[in-house]
Symmetry: C2
C-alpha cells in the first residue's frame, strides 16, 4: 500500500512522524508493506512553490492508496490574498480528488470525561458519527464575489451530490445503531427542501434505519443538551463544518479526534480534527494521538484492515489508562509526556 | 403607547395574556397608558385568512409603538407548501418592517444553573448578547430555486446592511463590557471577507471596544467550552440563527430567554426565544416568563422605560427565588405551578 504523507504546517510535521512510526510497527507485526511518500500542502507549499497546492501533490495523491495529512495554516499566511492561503490547499485537494464524504466520529473516552465542559450524565453515553458533505454547497458555488454595492455567495447542489452523501449516511447508520439524523434548514432554504425530499426518498430503501429530520438550529441545541440522542448525522457542507466542530468539544477529547474524507471508490484523506497549533509547533509537546487514530481510521476505511485498526485504538486507550497524557489533556494522577514519549508509549502497547 | 399583540400559535395565546396582565399592572403603577390591539400571524392566520401574514397585521404593526409576539408554527401546517407555512409570516414581518437587528441576551440565572448541561464552573459567569442580522443573507437572497439538475440558494448582502448591524454591535459593546466578537467564515466566503473588512473599518470609530474575529466553527466550539469569553457577538443571519440557539441552551434557562428584533428608528418586535410548543398548548402549563421578560425588553428598548423594565425583571427573579417554577424548569425544593399561577406570582411581586 502506497501512502502519501502531507505534514502541512505547525505541529503537522511532528505528529505525522508519530503516525508513520506506528504504521511501520503495524506493518512489520502484520506483514504488510506500506510505502510512504511526502508532499507539500498549505503554508509550507506557499513558501516553497508559491501555491498552497502544487500539481505534484495532487498527482501523487490521486495515484496513492491513501493520504495522511497533518494540518494546515498559521498566522504567517493569514494576511495573504485568498488564493495564497493555506486553507485553499485543503479546499483544493478535497475538490480535485472528489473527497465528498467527511466522516467525523465523536465518542466519549471515559478517562477524559473530566475534561468535558458538559456534565458527566449529559455526555457519558455520547457516540456519534457526523457525515459532512465536503465538496459542494456554499464553499464552492459561483458567483462568489463583490457586487456593485455588496457581495454574493452561492449555495449550489446537484441532486446527485445530495444523493451520494445521503446514501453514505444511511449505509453508516445501518452498520451502527440504525438511527440517521438529517440536518437541514428546510423551513427557509430551497436547497434544504430538496435535501429533505431526497432523504425521504432514500429512506424507502433503508426500512431498517429510522430517520429524524432536525433543523440546523435545533441540532446545534440538541448536541449540547442531549448528545446521546445522535447515532449518525448527515448534513451539507457548511452546517457540517459548524456542527462537527461544536460536537468535537463535547467529550473533552478534541486532541483525540480523527477524521476521514472519502471519495466514492474508497480513496481517502485522513487528518486529525484539531488544527496546526502554530503556538506550540516545534516544541515537541503536541499530542500525536488524533493523528495516530487517523492512521487507524485509514487502515480500516481505505485498506479494510480492521484488526490492525483496532490494535492501534486499543494501544492508544491503554496509554491513557496507564496515565500518559500530553500538555493538552491532563489525566489527574497521570504523567505528562511530550510527542516523542507519547508515540513510544503507543508503540510499546502495539504488540 | 400603542402595542400590537401577535399571539400566534400553540402556547402563544396563553403566554401573551400573561405579558399583557403584567404590562397593565406596570402601567397603573407608573401611570402610563398602554393600549393593545391583537392581530393574526402564523398558522392561525393561515386558517383564518389563508396567508401567514395578513396585510392588516403588517399595517397595524407598522403604525404601532411596539409589537409583542408569542410564537408561530405547529405540526398542523408542516406539510403546507412554503408560502402557506407559519414561518413565512415571521420572515415576512421581519423583512417588511425592516427589523434587521435581532438581540438575544443570554445570562446565567443562578437558581437555574443546576439545569444547565454545562458544568457550573464553565457556565456560571456567562453573560452575553448575541446580535444577529435578521433581514439579509441567505434567508432572502435570490435565486432560491430548483435548477435543471439541482438547487440553488443565494447569500447576498449590501455594504449598508452589513454596516448598520456591525454598528449595532459596537454600540451595544460600548455600553456593556466593551468586547465585540464578530463571527464570520472569512477563510471561505466572500461575504465574510467583506464583513470582516467592515468590522475592521468601523472599529476605528470605536477605539474603546476591543474586537475579536472568530470563524463560525470556532465560535460554535467556544460557546460550549468558554461561554464567559463572550460579551457582545455580532454575526450574519444564518450564523446568528445557529449560534444564538446553541447559546440559548447553555445556561439551562431557555424558558426564560426574551428577544428583540429592531428597526433603525427603534420600532421593535419582542418575542420569547422558545417556540410555540404545540404539545403543551392549551394545557395551562406553559412557562410565561420568557414572554414576560420580552415585555420588559420592550419597555426598555422601544419606550426607554428602564425602571419599569427592571421592576419586571426583579419580580421574575423574586418568583424563582420564592421557588415558583413551571413544568419545564423544576427548582429543587420549589413548587410547580401553571401559567396562571406563575403570572399571578409575578404580579404579586410587581409592587
Ligand atoms: C480550513 C477550513 C476551510 C475548513 C472548513 O471549513 O472546511 C476547516 O474548518 C475544516 O472543517 O476542515
Ligand atoms: C422559524 C425560523 C424561520 C426562524 C429563523 O431561522 O430565523 C427561527 O428559527 C428563529 O430563529 O427565529
Amino acid at each position: 500500500k502506497h501512502i502519501i504523507l502531507l505534514p502541512g504546517d505547525g505541529i503537522g510535521r511532528e505528529i505525522i512522524d508519530s503516525a508513520k512510526q506506528v504504521l511501520t510497527a503495524i506493518a512489520s507485526e502484520y506483514n504488510h508493506r506500506f510505502t510512504f511518500e511526502e508532499h507539500a500542502i498549505g503554508g509550507n507549499a506557499i513558501d516553497d512553490y508559491n501555491t498552497p497546492l502544487p500539481d505534484k501533490t495532487v498527482d501523487a495523491c490521486s495515484k496513492a492508496d491513501a493520504i495522511l495529512m497533518g494540518a494546515v495554516g498559521g498566522p504567517k499566511w493569514d494576511a495573504n490574498p485568498s488564493h495564497l492561503r493555506p486553507e485553499k490547499g485543503l479546499l483544493g485537494i478535497r475538490k480535485q480528488l472528489e473527497l465528498f464524504a467527511n466522516l467525523r466520529p465523536v465518542k466519549t473516552i471515559s478517562s477524559l470525561l473530566y475534561a468535558s465542559p458538559l456534565k458527566e450524565e449529559i455526555v457519558n453515553q455520547a457516540d456519534m458519527l457526523i457525515i459532512r458533505e465536503l465538496t459542494g454547497g456554499i464553499y464552492f458555488g459561483t458567483p462568489s464575489e463583490r457586487t456593485p454595492n455588496g457581495v454574493v455567495d452561492t449555495l449550489r447542489y446537484t441532486r446527485e451530490e445530495i444523493e451520494r452523501i445521503v446514501e453514505r449516511g444511511f449505509e453508516a447508520a445501518r452498520i451502527r445503531r440504525k438511527h440517521l439524523t438529517s440536518v437541514d434548514k428546510a423551513n427557509v432554504l430551497e436547497s434544504s427542501k430538496l435535501w429533505r425530499e431526497i432523504v425521504e426518498d432514500k429512506s424507502k430503501e433503508y426500512p431498517d434505519v429510522s430517520v429524524t429530520h432536525l433543523l440546523v438550529d435545533a441540532a446545534a441545541m440538541k448536541l449540547v443538551t442531549q448528545p446521546s440522542f445522535f447515532d449518525v448525522i448527515v448534513t451539507e457542507n457548511l452546517f457540517g463544518d459548524i456542527l462537527s466542530d461544536e460536537a468535537s468539544v463535547l467529550t473533552g477529547s478534541l486532541g483525540m479526534l480523527p477524521s476521514a474524507s472519502l471519495r466514492s471508490d474508497g480513496l481517502g484523506l485522513y487528518e486529525p480534527v484539531h488544527g496546526s497549533a502554530p503556538d506550540i509547533a516545534g516544541k515537541g509537546i503536541a499530542n500525536p494521538l488524533a493523528m495516530i487514530l487517523s492512521a487507524a481510521l485509514m487502515l480500516e476505511h481505505s485498506f479494510g484492515l480492521v484488526d490492525e485498526a483496532k490494535e492501534i485504538e486499543r494501544a492508544v486507550n491503554d496509554c491513557l489508562l496507564q496515565g500518559f497524557h500530553t500538555a493538552d489533556i491532563h489525566i489527574p494522577g497521570g504523567v505528562q509526556v511530550g510527542t516523542k514519549q507519547m508515540t513510544e508509549a503507543v508503540l510499546e502497547n502495539v504488540t
